[in-house]
Amino acid sequence: MRDDSDDPLIGRIAAELRHPVPARPDFEARVMAAVRAGPPSVPARAWTWLSEPRAVAVSPLSALALAAGVGALVIAGIWSASRSTRPGGAAGVAIEPVAAAAPSVVTFVLVDPRARSVALAGDFDGWDRSHLAMRRGASGLWTVDVPLAPGRYRYAFVVDGRRFVADPTAPPAVDDDFGQPTSVVTVSGARAAGGAL
């Protein structure tokens, strides 16, 4: 295949395109105004409020059902997440919050017997890979409960501190700019479920 690097015409075109393009004088001010409006991580105060213990019971049925369904899958990276159910309810994806706009506990689950550590990261905690460590249970079942206010969240699992894995049971984030596979969960005031962007 021909190497065009030494072609004088291509060189002239590239040289022209390397000239700087002036930005409007207020470009940086506009970017920083938008940046100040949205921090990269949930502020400590907000996280403290979100993570306070609340009287929301979470059934393990969904997690166990999921574990039974995928227990034979022992390949690293086979993940699954389920959502919490109402106290005493059947396994499923519905969440009935305590009150409108109140946080609901969402149980994220994955099966990866070979993982040494697993964490949950998402835009609800500023993609902090060390914040939400998941607990290992029997048969490589990892779980974590996260109180989430109504909203739509992008998340991924982080295996062994470095590998991002999307949730295969949830819709992938369509607009994935960040070079990592991510999934989406939606928690609404009346009902919550996994859902696509």
């Binding site: 000239h19 393009v21 970017v31 940046v35």
Partner: protein, 182 residues
């Protein structure tokens, strides 16, 4: 969009709560980003909006930047995707890319460049397939190697080489005469 110590330090300061440190990253990566977006989109206003959007997205996802020292490469990936999205949106909404005359009239004026030659190039770029244009810019203007381009675009190196080769063929065909006349 240089990588290295300053970027790493700035990223860490932002993550530790110093929001204003992000302005340092904007300053360091604005020019290269705007240059790429302007050539990719062919419209100054669209280029600025895509770049601004990319910075905001980068800020909000900064914790997922696994190698702060390579913020530049990570950010370029975001920008490439924002340019793709913006171009696709524009195609859907207006049935055109940068081939329309109105967009060409808003084509970015580059400092120190030859305006007529620049306009010829802008028109020629507008006629390229978007993926060929993207590959050409990343290879010949931004100076990435094919491995870096593959990581950034998700395409294989063979496909990228083919895109660059096709882009160069088309540019030679479209601009050879104009170049000879200069």
């Amino acid at each position: 969009m240089s990588d290295g110590g300053p970027d790493e330090a700035l990223v860490r300061r932002v993550l530790e709560g110093d929001v204003e440190a992000f302005a340092g990253l904007v300053a360091r990566h604005r020019d290269r980003g705007l240059r790429f977006a302007a050539a990719m989109l062919g419209d100054a206003a669209d280029a600025e909006e895509a770049l601004q959007d990319a910075f905001i997205r980068a800020y909000r996802a900064l914790r997922s930047c696994r190698e702060p020292a390579k913020f530049g490469a990570w950010f370029l990936r975001i920008l490439v995707n924002r340019c793709r999205t913006r171009a696709a949106t524009r195609r859907r909404s207006a049935g055109l890319f940068v081939r329309d005359e109105a967009a060409l009239e808003r084509a970015p004026a580059a400092a120190g460049s030859d305006p007529e030659w620049r306009e010829e190039i802008t028109r020629a770029l507008a006629r390229l397939d978007p993926l060929q244009r993207e590959a050409f810019l990343l290879k010949h203007v931004e100076g990435l190697d094919y491995e870096e381009m593959a990581r950034l675009t998700g395409a294989g190196t063979s496909a990228l080489k083919m895109r660059v080769m096709r882009a160069c063929e088309h540019l030679r065909s479209m601009l050879g005469e104009a170049n000879d006349a200069r």
